[in-house]
Symmetry: D2
Subunit: 359 residues, 4 copies
């Protein structure tokens, strides 16, 4: 029972096979080989456009930071949801790659940036005034950090406001496939058709060894992307092994298969938890993450049974994060639910001070 992160799962066999089959003979280093080229073509099919350029890297933090670094001047700012991974969990990588731009966290329910908050910030941002940092990029996340999915029209509305104000638009797609699968949408609908300039498309959380792609739907950032990637130490000499994984992911339906599996597991968990006394779902489950508040004693019971999850993920109210992946089994979900159900019964008798929300 490991719901701590998709990244604790084993690698999906398809990626292992992709690596093995790429490991034959010599191949020119630094992308002058066949695999990266094939990955590019597969990405153009996947996103249904030839106006697409791709830069592979090995981590999602790198992908986001390089994308934003190419988009934003040092005196610029990056507008993101206050709960975005780039601002909470990347140790200031976007600041580093942009030479010190500022991240501006904006509010919004259930991980979605508030349209009013975005508009208000841009209205008050003193554009053109040298004393103020200049809004330069909008960064959205889909699946959001609250496990919800932006609809195409929601993305389009936010990017529309941003583009009108001259901002570049970035989408952190670490869990892009989960959103596409949940919405029954196409990758194109959730990216360039909705006004996104750059998607950082993850495969790592979907089961690869670690392969992410900066997918640009405009050529204007290419020089910056190429040089920042190298300068940041992210240009892989043995690029074929990144290319092979990415091709494997987007060429067939591996991405969709893995995303649907994970989403179904999360839904099974969420549905189960919703029926347990003392448990409350904090966000709608629209992908492969479940956010729930529960009594501390229930958490203790889970921990005691060896269940891994992100305890005290966020406060207000205090809640916990459970993530599913391509590898999550129904058995593990059911076992976890059983533990919660058992803990729920005993709980009502021994609620303790430690169950109070932190302030």
């Amino acid at each position: 029972m490991d719901f701590g992160s998709e990244n604790t799962s084993p690698v999906h066999p398809a990626f292992a096979e992709a690596l093995a089959s790429a490991n034959h003979g010599y191949a020119t280093n630094f992308e002058a080989e066949a695999w990266t080229g094939r990955a590019l073509r597969a990405l153009r099919d996947f996103f249904e456009t030839d106006e697409l350029w791709a830069f592979t890297v090995s981590t999602g933090t790198a992908a986001n930071a390089i994308a934003l670094g190419a988009m934003v001047p040092s005196y610029g700012s990056i507008l993101c949801h206050w709960d975005a991974h780039i601002v909470t969990d990347e140790c200031g990588a976007p600041e580093m790659f942009s030479a010190g731009a500022r991240q501006v966290p904006l509010p919004g329910e259930h991980g979605r940036m508030s349209i009013d908050a975005l508009s208000a910030h841009l209205r008050e941002a003193r554009v053109g005034v040298v004393h103020a940092v200049q809004p330069s990029a909008l960064s959205l996340t889909n699946l959001t950090e609250a496990g919800t999915s932006y609809r195409p029209e929601e993305i389009a509305e936010l990017t529309g406001i941003a583009r009108k104000a001259g901002l570049g638009t970035h989408l952190d797609g670490a869990r892009f496939a989960n959103a596409v699968a949940f919405l029954n949408a196409t990758p194109a609908q959730l990216s360039w058709k909705a006004g996104v300039d750059i998607v950082t498309l993850g495969t790592t959380k979907s089961g690869s060894f670690g392969a992410e792609t900066i997918v640009a739907f405009t050529a204007k950032y290419n020089t910056g992307l190429a040089f920042l990637r190298k300068r940041g130490g992210h240009f892989a000499p043995k690029s074929r092994f990144l290319g092979a994984q990415i091709e494997a992911y987007v060429k067939g339906d591996l991405w969709l298969h893995n995303a649907r599996h994970a989403n179904r597991a999360a839904l099974r968990m969420a549905t189960g938890l919703a029926r347990i006394d003392g448990v409350a779902l904090v966000h709608p489950t629209e992908g492969n993450e479940v956010f729930a508040s529960m009594p501390a004693s229930m958490c203790d019971a889970l921990v005691g049974a060896g269940c891994k999850f992100q305890r005290d993920w966020r406060l207000h109210p205090r809640h916990h994060r459970f993530v599913t992946s391509w590898a999550t089994s129904d058995e593990d979900v059911d076992r976890m639910l059983d533990i919660c159900r058992s803990a729920s019964g005993s709980d009502q008798l021994i609620a303790s001070a430690s169950d109070q929300p932190l302030t």
Copy 2:
């Protein structure tokens, strides 16, 4: 016949096996798993010291840049050989990770930094004067970029001068194993026993998928190393796959086996080339690289036969680089030598203007 770089070779089966055997079950992400811990213990055995801390990353440029970034303030300078990879081929990554420190290229024969040049630079560097950047790190490379091996006492003399002046000491060990193997030395002799604070130990050029380690023999840079690694986007979520490769490399004699094989192939090539009219070895062959000048027509013949190598690697005189790896076969070396020999015969009749050195 691919002598362009070790990185064009296929991955050695031992690394593929390491990956496969690590891919079972769940493992906590971000190094809180067993593989990274085992790699650390293996590194301590390999370097014969417990005063060792390790930070795994996926590229050599990242390893060097993070190490130097942790060692050097923004107003500092990094003293390296004028031919060092960090100054010629990393697109300013050390500048990026140090927030703008300066690289100072120093001369030296056959890839070895001149002791006089180092001493003279330090003597004239205006230490403590705010108008001047402050020498903060010495960076050596072993195997050098000229394919030669620094002896332990040569390293010790250079690091001694540097340490006396308060500098940190870094060794780019992308081909560390090749130097160790050539010299019949121990890893300890060529690193901390010779006054090196941090080695960036490569396995990529030795046959892995891409796994490098920042090996620190002092704890004083650890905070910087840990945070810069994350901030640079180089902290791998699925860290077990880096740990597994590194353990596989240093635990047994894989490192030595691969290095010896590559060194032998280079020696075979160098010995053969030395006997061919019109070919001159530019540097002694003390590892897995051969640097040779030859007539342009001979280069053309190699290219025509599909042989890959770094043509016009450096000028003064114009010469070319041939690299061998764990995968290089005697057949390929001999075939390459045959082509050169044939070209040598015809050459003497049709030497052309294009054979003149560039100016």
Copy 3:
């Protein structure tokens, strides 16, 4: 009637005299002259301590950015009030000088940082976790940006919390003299005795040509301060003219005289405004700034009469900033009040939609 900023005032004659009297004969450049030395001694008297080092620069933005840059690593964060000048009006200078550290704006009434907000942020900041930027400096402002004065014990409480968490402590003292004068305190009480490591002491807003001092009460940041100042282009060749102004400011009672004059003018204005219908003071007047909401028609009347002030300084509620200086005359204040009074009378009849608060 110019209440836009202290910096629109003419320079006080004492500074002009200081410049003139320093302009005789030759003087070694870059602080190896007598004036800077005398300024240092005068500052030690002013702050009643010999544990003090000083670095003069020409702007307040430079002083703050160099101080914070010396205190904070690139992966660090700076905790400040959400209304602090460093975060609202310096175009990311602290980010630049710290190589991309993050500013974290915290709330608090009337320009004072909330102790609870500071404590809560530090409690949740994940200290030691590489995924998160690390709180590294507390930056307070006194006089605050709301024109209020932190009491010594308020500063001590905030710096105490910060120091316990290992943070450095910075005080933006662009209007330090106004706070000292208002509180009838000593400079020492409002700085090192209250736990402040570095004060950036302004004279520009107090009437000089442009001379600010980074005053450090610990030697531990001196290397960073000295090199960052030079590297940032802020080490003045003709340093005697900065030293002369700073000596003139702190040696006698020029600082106190100018601050008291400006504070009295602000109090006169605030007292007058408070009695006018439709005007509300937004913050207590504890220095030389008055913040007031008033009908738009009253603002229009002021603008029409040529009165300079910061209209729509902040929203929630919409209000305006009026600043007084050493040069402000009672006549100008009274004239401004007369205009407001007149506008108030007519106002009650023609209040319009444009007077509503922005949302």
Copy 4:
């Protein structure tokens, strides 16, 4: 007898008067006042073009760093003479303002960059290859650091090569007036007419309190210049005092008068020194600097008499720098020459080991 730097001289009375006359009444801060506007118009007359934008700052290091920072991406390089002030004496300020670009020092006789060296560097620079930093700016200095003057056609040839390769062109004009005066040229001939994009025009060394101007002959860098200036802490609140000095300098013939005076004094010194046994001029005297080698005992005699100069300015051969300014008197020059003459006589008898060149 102070020949250490122009900056040890007192400020010329015309600048003191400019400051005094600007110090009347209120003036909007941050350049929204009359003086900066008048300075701009005066600069357009001075350079004979309306295609000119100006950004005033208080130090030459700031002017250079902001100009280069606006011109060069982080992965770019700046080509300059190996003796340029930006690379020897600004503590890496260009690196800081460009977020870590690299300075590439090129050789050349008497402070002038070798055309061959520039061409060769550009030919070998691997333009477009992500592994290499990309040449992005040419930076020249006139008066050079060797006290010589580039002719307009020499500048044009260098900038022509640079522009053809896509580089921006910068001229460090800390002693621009001295070159213009020596060559009997016009400011336009030595700047935009010779292919220079940005001149950093100094007045500080010409006798002001400290006022430098970034003069751009193209609008394309304006956004970067404006934001970097503010972000670097170099946007002066009381801008009128910078504007007033710059207007005073370029409007009439103050710049020419001061430059001619200083140049004449240097020529007097050089002519005198050339006739003294044991003294050798190291560079032609084409401005207000004299570089001479002389016996150590002669240096000692000068030092003993209280004469200030830059001893051991450069080695190969060891020589010394003497700078004249608007304030240098014939008496001081003659007194200095007398001391050298006296020392020369005694010298021939007691030449000592300490006179040997450093190695």
